[in-house]
């Protein structure tokens, strides 16, 4: 199939970017989207031109490294699918595709389609863990956990941290990402001792990183390659509110 590509080219974070048009005369429908870009890049390199930079690694939809916006949709048109698992048979001969990086001030562009997502790591640093030292754990079966709770925790835990939720949100909110971690750990008995502290600390970090607020549009859930539910955002809001009370210093009042 023949495609016309408009790819966002930006030399680095300080430079201006623009769409550049490329002809892709011989895409195969069995290619993945990233393989199609590989072919484009081989052609560019052969002509001595700078190839399009994009992040990718496992190409199995699990590492979360890849992702960009295709015709306005993060990871492209197939639901529950990362860009690396999207195949060209989902497009038609003659299609025109606009390919651009995640757009969010908390995700500055590094080059072309590659952005800096280290804000996500800092949100995890703020509390996305259970404080347990190596070697101090009791037997794995000492604490029975209801299958339902464990399964639901897993629904949240499968977040791959790709950032599509942020890119899909008109407010560039990281609520789905943050809520998935708060939900994963907060649903398990091991996560209870730090539950309030975690929710408050992670939400505050998310805000400080420059992500917007959630206004319940649900775009994040629609774009999420793991189809994580926005129910977890509701849960996060409840935990945050509860935590805001329990985490204030002893004797302090909530006044503003």
């Amino acid at each position: 199939m023949r495609l016309t590509l408009h790819v966002w080219r930006q030399r680095n974070g300080r430079a201006e970017g623009q769409f550049v048009k490329y002809d892709m005369p011989n895409a195969s429908e069995d290619m993945s989207f990233l393989e199609m870009l590989d072919v484009l890049n081989e052609g560019l390199v052969a002509q001595g031109q700078d190839p399009v930079a994009f992040d990718h690694d496992c190409r199995e939809g699990i590492c979360g490294m890849c992702g960009f916006v295709i015709n306005g949709v993060p990871h492209g048109p197939e639901r529950g699918t990362t860009a690396c698992q999207l195949h060209m048979r989902k497009f038609k001969d003659g299609d025109e595709l606009w390919i651009e990086p995640w757009r969010a001030s908390a995700f500055p562009v590094l080059k072309d389609l590659s952005v800096n997502r280290s804000a996500f790591d800092r949100i995890i640093q703020a509390g996305g863990f259970i404080s347990v030292h190596t070697g101090s754990a009791p037997d794995g079966n000492a604490l029975p956990i209801a299958k339902e709770a464990s399964d639901r925790a897993m629904d949240a835990a499968q977040c791959i941290g790709c950032g599509a939720c942020v890119a899909a949100c008109p407010n560039a909110s990281a609520s789905l990402f943050t809520a998935a971690k708060i939900g994963h750990l907060g649903l398990l008995p091991q996560g209870q001792p730090e539950r309030d502290r975690r929710a408050v600390s992670m939400v505050e970090r998310m805000n400080a990183e420059g992500f917007g607020h959630c206004s319940n549009l649900g775009e994040c859930e629609a774009a999420c390659p793991k189809e994580i539910s926005i129910e977890f955002i509701a849960r996060m809001n409840r935990d945050y509110l509860g935590g805001a009370f329990s985490q204030r210093p002893a004797g302090a009042r909530i006044e503003d």
């Binding site: 393989e35 390199v45 930079a53 496992c58 790591d121 347990v132 190596t134 070697g135 925790a153 994963h184």
Partner: protein
């Protein structure tokens, strides 16, 4: 050169315990004076960095990905073994030890494997405490499944994403230590050389993959947890970024490279669909529990599978291995698939594929049950191939998946270069010549959580902290060397892309040092790889500059090292005149076509020592002794 594996004395079940007690300790107040550099943040690296930081050491951690959470451990699907015996089905530490030594075709160290089996039970406890959502029974206890031909159910899992969940657990522990200021994290940073001062590993030289800046870091010990080298084949199930550069640079600085020819070819991967193919995708081995593998009886049979009647099909695994059938171990299943394709009976484009058919399972169990068991895998298959496996048999073919070889380490996981530790898939480790399913995750976490925190402390207790800085002449020399090499690559203005060289290299290694090897092929491959490497250094084209994001430059550096490693793999395969596990020499097989070991002459680990660019590596042997598990011919008939 004499290799000392430093295996403690005493009975096998007491070795690790008494060794730990005999180790020196670092006073808590002194721990913060030591700096440890941990390279790679997969299961081994993240768990080691977090555990060492908890103890109080200063840790600097490095990964080439944009976040430590992306390391390729994340892609492991099936599960992690542990000798918990929660199922009361007769499992024990000794049985896991026994299965692993046998599965490795008697080419692993008994003492290391026993310790691995001991640690397995602690790993599960640790991961549960971290919040890893393992599968559970309704009663709230942990669920298990059987895996990879084992006769007990000892595999713990989190849906089909066990690697992801274990890595996220270790990553969260690591991020916690970063937040506490105990780990300094350098993401998008690639190791380009190891600094050795007076024979001791003291630092690393890196390139910042965003700014291009070449930088050095020094410490009191260096830990490489940089994974396997399967991408030498270009097409493999590894992530695109997986590479050998860290361990190869260390090898060229003196670390011995052990058993490079032991590579694991996984039997159930989605076949290649075209020349543009960039990687291969694994389909979990669990599919073989219900799927039946077959090819047409006659070569060149072009009918669609539903038009081929039962009588014209050859269920070759069931025919050749009546007792194990479709569940034979990975190496056996892979070779059998190659054999039928070599006979011209393969299916799909290019004839490199065999059917994995679920029609009988659907008839027996119903489509719903099959969907419950394998639904996500069927969906992934359909997404990639556009074919519906409920209606048409899957097509599968073997692909490179794991490398058992790696840097040689002693019982303490230290290489022959003092201060240089190697953990996870990067070391030559505990799997011998073949790794059992669900054992890679176990080894990475055993090394990182439960071995390095002890053995590294013991090493540090004997060295004076912080005695060199980045102005040291050895550091400056290493930096200059890295700078020169980078400049040289960027000055290549030839006609071929780096990827085209990598594909060609991969094809040579796959054809001659893949599922089956022979003397003539290996000798030819060595010559062809050398020629190709020379061409690379004159005819490659690396675009862009060194002081920006430059993915072509990153690839070029990795491919340059793959040439040298590929050659060593062929040399190792040539020198090992026997068949063992993943290493199958066509000259050495039983009359039935199975791998024929030669315990009398080859019961050793081959460790290769770098000499110079002008002469090949020298072979150093570490003899293997088996006091507990008696070597026998593996049989799955």
């Amino acid at each position: 050169m004499q290799l000392d594996a430093r295996i403690p004395a005493g009975p096998i079940e007491k070795k690790w315990e008494s060794h730990r007690f005999g180790m020196k300790l670092v006073n808590p107040a002194n721990k913060r004076k030591y700096t440890v550099l941990v390279v790679g943040t997969g299961l081994a690296g993240a768990s080691a960095a977090a555990s060492l930081a908890e103890l109080g050491y200063n840790v600097k951690a490095f990964c080439f990905q944009d976040s430590p959470r992306r390391a390729h451990s994340i892609a492991a699907q099936g599960g992690i073994n542990a000798a918990k015996n929660y199922q009361n089905d007769g499992d024990s530490i000794y049985r896991l030890f026994y299965d692993t030594v046998k599965g490795g075709d008697y080419r692993a160290r008994e003492a290391n494997v026993y310790r691995l089996a001991e640690n397995s039970v602690n790993i599960i406890d640790q991961c549960v405490a971290q919040g890893v959502p393992f599968a559970r029974e309704y009663g709230g206890v942990l669920a298990n499944r059987s895996f990879g031909g084992a006769q007990v159910s000892r595999t713990f899992y989190a849906r089909g994403q066990t690697g992801q969940q274990l890595l996220i657990g270790a990553y969260q522990g690591l991020e916690r230590q970063i937040g506490l200021g105990k780990v300094e994290m350098h993401a998008r940073t690639e190791l380009l050389d190891v600094v050795v001062v007076d024979g001791v590993a003291r630092g690393i030289v890196t390139r910042n993959l965003v700014s291009g800046k070449i930088e050095s870091f020094v410490g009191d010990a260096v830990v490489l947890c940089t994974g396997g080298y399967g991408n030498v084949f270009f097409l493999s199930t590894n992530a695109k970024g997986c590479n050998t550069t860290a361990i190869w640079r260390a090898h060229k600085k003196g670390a011995l490279f052990a058993n490079p020819c032991y590579t694991q070819i996984h039997p159930t991967c989605i076949p290649v669909s075209g020349d543009y193919q960039s990687k291969l995708t694994l389909m979990s081995e669990s599919l073989r529990n219900d799927g039946r593998v077959w090819v047409p009886k006659a070569g060149g049979d072009k009918r669609s599978p539903d038009q081929i009647p039962e009588g014209d099909r050859d269920y070759y695994l069931e025919r050749r291995y009546p007792s194990f059938g479709n569940l034979v171990p990975r190496d056996v299943a892979s070779r059998a698939a190659k054999a039928v394709c070599d006979e011209g009976r393969g299916v799909g484009p290019g004839g490199l594929g065999v059917y994995l058919d679920f029609a009988d399972a659907i008839k027996r169990l119903g489509a719903n049950t099959v969907a419950e068991r394998y639904g996500n895998l069927f969906q992934m298959y359909e997404r990639i191939t556009g074919e519906n496996p409920y209606k048409v048999p899957m097509r599968i073919y073997p692909a490179v998946h794991y490398t058992m070889g790696g840097l040689w380490v002693d019982y303490n996981l230290m290489s022959n270069v003092p201060g240089l530790f190697v953990a996870g898939e990067a070391n030559f480790s505990d799997h011998g010549a073949n790794r059992l399913g669900a054992s890679a995750l176990m080894q990475g976490l055993s090394d990182g959580y439960f071995i390095l925190p002890y053995t590294l402390g013991n090493y540090l207790a004997g060295v004076k902290p912080g005695s060199i800085d980045t102005q040291h002449a050895a550091v400056k020399d290493a930096e200059a060397e890295v700078g020169e090499r980078t400049k040289k690559m960027l000055s290549l203005k030839g006609k071929r892309t780096v990827d085209s060289f990598h594909r060609e290299l991969g094809k040579i290694i796959w054809d001659e040092c893949g599922m089956a090897r022979n003397r003539k092929g290996l000798e030819g491959a060595i010559e062809r790889v050398r020629t190709l490497r020379d061409q690379f250094w004159t005819d490659a084209h690396v675009t862009g500059s060194g002081d920006e994001v430059n993915k072509e430059l990153e690839k070029a550096g990795r491919v340059a090292d793959f040439f040298e490693l590929g050659e060593l793999m062929c040399r190792d395969a040539l020198a090992r005149e026997e068949s063992a596990g993943g290493h199958f020499r066509e000259e050495y097989q039983t009359p039935e076509g199975e791998a024929q070991r030669d315990d009398e002459n080859f019961c050793y680990t081959s460790a290769w020592q770098w000499k110079s660019d002008a002469e090949p590596q020298g072979l150093v042997k570490e003899p293997l002794t088996f006091d507990y598990v008696k070597p026998t011919q593996r049989s799955y008939k």
